[in-house]
Each structure stands twice: as structure tokens, then as C-alpha cells.
């Protein structure tokens, strides 16, 4: 019984929503102001994006594993959750800034426009994260979803320059770069379909 509930997709959605619910509760209680929400929402967006991105390299390196397969089946949910957190991130940015003049004044700062650009790339990825789009786009779907790689580079630059600090960004991105790199160098054979 427990196992059936845990394996349900809605359970996974709920799991992914927990950090958002916790931080929104603190915001609603006045414990956090809009500015305080920027860091956690952005961090969770990046983290879930990275989580979705490392699954294929892990399958390539470790071979098929039941737990990996369990996660791969839920990869699209991870991607959509990353998008939802990035939308929250943007919403709280807009609340915090409060007016267009201030937003435009800092738009071309390296740490800002990279965030907007990553957001822009996330939109088509999220909009096509459904069965109907996968069927309609066929092979093009995979090509489209590869936009996540340039988006990840933009997220990394956004994070480093907004934070004036390398360490937290690197803690998240070094594993990603190592795994994607390892997959690229260690498995020259083409990936089987669906991997």
C-alpha cells in the first residue's frame, strides 16, 4: 500500500512542492520579505534543473538501475518543477523591484540579463513537457529540450554574478559538469533511444 502511494506521480509532485510550500508559508507569515525569497526559489530552480540533467549521464555511467529508472520516469516532472520554481523566482523579483524603471536600470548587469535569458529558454521547454508535444515534435522534441544546456550556462553566470560568490554556484554545477563531461568522454557509443 505504502509503495503504491509512493510510486504515484502526484506523490512525487507533492514532494517537489514541499520546499515551495515551506518558503511560501514563511513569506505569508511575514517572516520573509520578497527579497528573501529570491535566493531559495532560485536555488531550488537551479537544483531541480541540475537534478533532471544528471540522470542521463548517471544511466550512461552506472548502467540501468531500478532507482535511476524510477527517477528517469519522473524526469519531466523535475524539469517542470524547476520551471515553476524559476517562475516563483521571477514573481518575487518583480514584487521586490516593484517598478519597471528599477528593473530596466539594472537589466544589462551581467547577473541580471543572464537570468532573464535563462527564463526565456525555460519557457518552450516547460510548454512542451507533455505527452502531446512529445508526440507532435517527434525527434525535434529532444533537440528542443537540449536548450537546457545553454540555459544551464546562463543560470551559472546569473548565479555567480548576482551573488558575488563562486562557492554556492560551484557546489551545484561542478557535479553537473563532471557527469555531463564523463558521459561525453567515457561513452562514445550513441545513446540508445529513450536514455
Amino acid at each position: 500500500m505504502l509503495r503504491i502511494i509512493l510510486n504515484k506521480k502526484p506523490t512525487f509532485w507533492l514532494l517537489l512542492a514541499i520546499p515551495a510550500l515551506l518558503m511560501l508559508r514563511r513569506y505569508a507569515s511575514g517572516d520573509l520579505i520578497a527579497m528573501d525569497m529570491l535566493h531559495p526559489t532560485g536555488e531550488w530552480a537551479a537544483r531541480l534543473m541540475i537534478f533532471a540533467m544528471v540522470l542521463s549521464p548517471l544511466v550512461s555511467l552506472l548502467g540501468p538501475k531500478p532507482w535511476l529508472n524510477w527517477l528517469v520516469q519522473r524526469r519531466r516532472a523535475l524539469g517542470v518543477a524547476a520551471f515553476v520554481y524559476s517562475v516563483l523566482h521571477l514573481v518575487f523579483y518583480l514584487i521586490d523591484m516593484g517598478n519597471l524603471v528599477d528593473i530596466l536600470a539594472e537589466f544589462w548587469a551581467l547577473g541580471i540579463w543572464t537570468g532573464w535569458a535563462a527564463m526565456l529558454l525555460f519557457v518552450p521547454l516547460a510548454l512542451t513537457s507533455n505527452d502531446a508535444s512529445m508526440r507532435r515534435l517527434k525527434a525535434g522534441w529532444k533537440r528542443l529540450q537540449r536548450l537546457v544546456y545553454p540555459a544551464a550556462v546562463l543560470v551559472l553566470v546569473h548565479w555567480i554574478f548576482i551573488h558575488n560568490n563562486l562557492i554556492p554556484a560551484l557546489v551545484h554545477f561542478v557535479p553537473l559538469v563532471l557527469l555531463v563531461g564523463a558521459r561525453f568522454f567515457l561513452s562514445p557509443k550513441p545513446q540508445p533511444k529513450g536514455a
Binding site: L6, F51, M97, A109
Partner: protein, 104 residues
């Protein structure tokens, strides 16, 4: 029982991923001595408000007071002040340096 492996993994990931609050960002450091010699953040906020600033939030970072707010000129900035003298040390906007006191 296979479900317990992803569960354990998720728990481990959650543990590893619990957001550490952003500590010193390392933009500016102040040799400000013991806290007992510092002026309060309230005093800083009052002083800045009188000068035309809007203070959204302030905290201690790298031994300085770090303030998020709007300057009298209307720029949304992050600024650093010395906690003993309340002297302005640094003003930046998303990493772009708008003002930096020589020596800091």
C-alpha cells in the same frame, strides 16, 4: 522494497541540499572590532533615511553593515557601511560597482 532506495536518495539529497543561508559574500570586509563598539543597525537606518535613502533590509556581512535599499538618487542598490563610523564604504547594483571607498 525497491522504493526505499529512491526514498533514501531523496532524503539524502534533501539533507545535502538544505539551503545554507548566504553568509559573507566577501564584497567588503570591515576591521570593526568587538560588537560592543558598534553603532546599531537602527542608528544606521535612521541616518540613511534622513539622508534620503529607503532602507529595505540591513544585516551584518563581513564585519560591516550591509544595506539593501534605494539611494537618494533613486538607484536600487546594495551598500556597505562601517559599523563603528557608519561611513559609506561600497555601493553596488547587482555586482556593478557604483562607489567604493579607496582602500576597501
Amino acid at each position: 522494497m525497491r522504493v526505499f532506495i529512491p526514498l533514501t536518495l531523496a532524503a539524502a539529497a534533501a539533507m545535502a541540499f538544505v539551503s545554507a543561508p548566504a553568509s559573507a559574500t566577501g564584497v567588503i570586509k570591515c576591521k570593526s572590532g568587538p560588537v560592543s563598539g558598534w553603532k546599531t543597525q537602527d542608528e544606521l537606518t535612521k541616518k540613511l533615511t534622513k539622508e534620503g535613502w529607503t532602507v529595505r533590509k540591513s544585516k551584518v556581512d563581513g564585519g560591516c553593515y550591509e544595506v539593501y535599499g534605494t539611494t537618494p538618487e533613486g538607484d536600487r542598490v546594495e551598500a556597505y557601511f562601517h559599523p563603528v563610523t557608519l561611513e559609506k564604504l561600497y555601493v553596488g547594483r547587482r555586482g556593478e560597482v557604483l562607489f567604493r571607498k579607496p582602500g576597501y
